[in-house]
Amino acid sequence: MKAIITVIGKDTVGILAKVSDTCAKADVNIVEVTQSVLQDMFAMIMLVEISKANIGFEQLKENLNRVGEETATKIHIMHEDIFNSMHKI
């Protein structure tokens, strides 16, 4: 199963590193990353493979939320299908 992680917030040092680190610790493979910085707003989107994760979805979500709090960003993780069904016919 693939999921999409989005990180939105003010750009600070080490956001990408912290999110990647959380994924690596959970055995979550990052398949694709795009990021853009508009003025000082940071938006990063990661497509990740979570079928081999060593923790449950709920725990992963919680860990990412913690990173969000540390970096003052808003982090979501959602099943890929929701975006596919809403935006692709």
Binding site: I8, E58, H79, E80, I82, N84, H87
Partner: protein, 453 residues
């Protein structure tokens, strides 16, 4: 790969524009629970509901977490109890209401619908006793919802049932007067009631349905309003309709995904997605604000009916391609007390019951969650029901009446329910007595529209 802007759009819809799936409703047939012994029948009803729906709430919560979509309600609808209670005549069917309520509490669902009777053409055994017991059932239970279908395009309008329901609505409000007349908020009187509706208070599981089925009701007035606010300036009406359609498509696709996933995880067939714009009292989640966004100063002013017709139609057109099976009520809801914009419009007097009545000719339901003065007579309630049913019968559409007589209050006062039910200003009704008309009884014959064969 998905586009960044699409991903961010979805997240924004959920975070800021109140996008949600309003309800996953499991329909359960109780036709195999019939028994002449009412206690045995109630035990069978309780057991079957608890068995079939045991994973409903957990599955809903799991999907909510994994997909990141809020699913506000998990509900159950059952076969109209009027039929289930038919074999146990001369017994008070209220015991079934207790069994339903107990099952709802055990399972943790928000509401259970189906304390219902279908009497559009006449009363069968069990129906009369069931309708008589509605006030008691709604006052002595917490989660049970009730509905009565009193008319249809095919059958005409059962005016004996209309007469009876005026009294039942009033009595239900009276015996729950100490709880803001909440009983009446759980009672709907229908014409052309849909048998697969996932929304309360009118949900029941029709007899033509599968044994158990999953129906999903989507929502999202906030998303539609935001889309119009962002891109609607200076656009003509055709473009506005297109914007609504596109937004409705996205909302419905999400509902379809949730419905399919819930159906798969619960091993229950997927029934329908109800393409509805269901408002909540939350700021920004209002159907009235969409109409105002289209360019009306206040919901209720001239032009409101046209704007609502456009909205209702565009929601269906956008939604119908997004789902493999569409059903239920499907359209825009206009429950006054549950919609911040409607409440505001009613408070300032620009939205009154006659304007609402004309709006119901073009929206998906009817006079919904309207608070009326406590001294309203049962005959007047019946007459309002008859008017509304006539609109539904002639236009081959569902109409419903959910009036709350605010016992002890008069026009201009407020009645607070709290939660999703919101709060409503007491709206004045027209004076003049319909008593003789209502007391005639009998049936309004089915209109020519019924003779299609």
């Amino acid at each position: 790969m998905l586009e960044t802007k699409d991903i961010l759009e979805t997240i924004n819809m959920i975070d800021n524009e109140n996008l949600d799936v309003r309800t996953i409703t499991m329909g359960i047939s109780l036709l195999d629970c019939l028994d002449e012994d009412i206690d045995k029948a109630c035990a069978k009803v309780y057991d079957k509901i608890c068995r079939n729906a045991k994973d409903l709430v957990k599955t809903g919560e799991d999907i909510e977490r994994e997909y990141g979509i809020p699913i506000i309600n998990k509900r159950i609808s059952v076969t109209p109890i009027g039929m289930v209670a038919a074999p146990c005549q001369s017994k008070n069917p209220v015991k079934f209401a207790y069994a339903l309520d107990k099952a709802a509490k055990e399972l943790g669902v928000n509401f259970i619908g189906g304390y219902s009777a279908l009497v559009q053409k006449g009363f069968s055994s069990g129906d009369y006793a069931l309708i008589e017991s509605i006030p008691q059932a709604l006052s002595e239970t917490d989660f049970v919802c009730s509905s009565v279908n009193i008319g249809s395009t095919k059958a005409g309008i059962n005016m004996d049932a209309v007469k009876m329901m005026g009294g039942i609505v009033k009595k239900t409000a009276e015996i729950t007067a100490d709880r803001n007349c909440i009983g009446a908020a759980k009672l709907v009187v229908f014409c052309n009631a849909p048998e697969d509706n996932p929304f309360m208070a009118g949900a029941f599981h029709g007899v033509g349905e599968a044994d158990t089925v999953i129906n999903v009701g989507v929502s999202g007035p906030g998303v539609v309003r935001a889309a119009l606010a962002k891109n609607g300036a200076g656009k003509d009406i055709t473009e506005i309709a297109d914007m609504v359609k596109k937004t409705a498509f996205k909302i419905t696709r999400m509902g379809q995904l949730v419905a399919k996933e819930a159906s798969k995880r619960l091993y229950v067939p997927f029934g329908i997605v109800d393409l509805s714009l269901a408002p909540t009292p939350a700021v920004g989640d209002s159907v009235a604000y969409i109409l105002e966004e289209m360019g009306l100063e206040t919901c209720g002013c001239h032009g409101t009916t046209a704007a609502l017709a456009l909205l209702n139609d565009a929601v269906k057109k956008g939604g119908v391609m997004a789902s493999s099976h569409v059903g239920g009520l499907s359209g825009a809801f206009i429950p006054v007390s549950e919609d911040a914009g409607m409440i505001a419009a009613a408070k300032c007097g620009r939205l009154d019951i006659t304007k609402l009545e004309s709006m119901t000719a073009v929206c998906s339901v009817g006079l919904d969650m309207i608070v009326v003065p406590g001294d309203i007579t049962p005959e007047m309630i019946s007459a309002i029901i008859a008017d509304e049913a006539a609109i539904g019968m002639v236009n081959t559409k569902t109409t419903a009446v959910r009036l709350i007589p605010a016992i002890g209050r008069k026009a201009g006062d407020m009645l607070e329910f709290g939660g999703l039910l919101g709060s409503g200003p007491v709206m004045p009704v027209r004076d003049g007595s319909p008593d003789v008309f209502i007391h005639r009884g009998g049936r309004i014959p089915a209109p020519l529209q019924a003779l299609k064969n």
